[in-house]
Symmetry: C2
Subunit: 162 residues, 2 copies
Amino acid sequence: MTNPTQITAEAGRPFVDIVREFDAPIAAVFRAHTDPELFAQWTGPEQLSVDVKVFDAVTGGQWHYVSTDPAGGTYGFRGVFHTVEHEALIIQTFEFDGAPGQVSMSVARFEETPTGTRISTHTVFPSIESRDGMVATGMEHGATESYRRLEALLERDSVHSA
Amino acid sequence: MTNPTQITAEAGRPFVDIVREFDAPIAAVFRAHTDPELFAQWTGPEQLSVDVKVFDAVTGGQWHYVSTDPAGGTYGFRGVFHTVEHEALIIQTFEFDGAPGQVSMSVARFEETPTGTRISTHTVFPSIESRDGMVATGMEHGATESYRRLEALLERDSVHSA
């Protein structure tokens, strides 16, 4: 069973809100967001491989990864972690090297639920046009597919051992 | 003569735009934003003293300072530098410890003009309410006074020597 990914992108606002629940403990869900080896296994579409260059998931740390498509095309992403609160909160910036200077910032809150873990992510963009551009280029599909892959990863035993 | 500080905060949008020109070379204006000793001399209102704890003004660096008012009250501010491009661009996050979790992000562009330097800063807030709160608590006055103090600092010789 796959849980739904709820995505809200109200017209005329530079925000995207995404809510997703996982039938897995908060420790495992949070670890999949802060451990670079786990993160590389679920972020982005299935057909792209992810090479994590830097991933220092602590307050003040940096992150950088490069995705490669089957044709060899590469897509770089980087940012900084403003806040990482263990099993609670990740605030980070995000920049795609194909759109330099269009930096967004996301606030991801992790909460325990009766059946597992809820992640609520609020992303702010520097303009409504920038937000609309991200939505137009498949942010919804990307988020849904990433979370489907994360769900599958969380069903494997390895993620749950420290 | 004091140059005007142009502040735009359109209703219903989570943005604040500030444009300010200085009759000083871009090297000096930029240095006043990246050198912690200079930064402490102009940021914030005149009656508050600024103690810079961390100020690593490079891409991926952190910053943190504490302001103290005449009554001994303290106000902490911190964030990370997403991008620092020499004499061109500073993208950073900003959080006031009196409003934890209300993180904003600003994009400051530095440009040479016929008479000196223009700084254009676009700040995005996590909500319209958060933006309105910052405007209501004196962001306009704070920016105008900070830039007036920066202008005075730039008139002194010491800032212009490397």
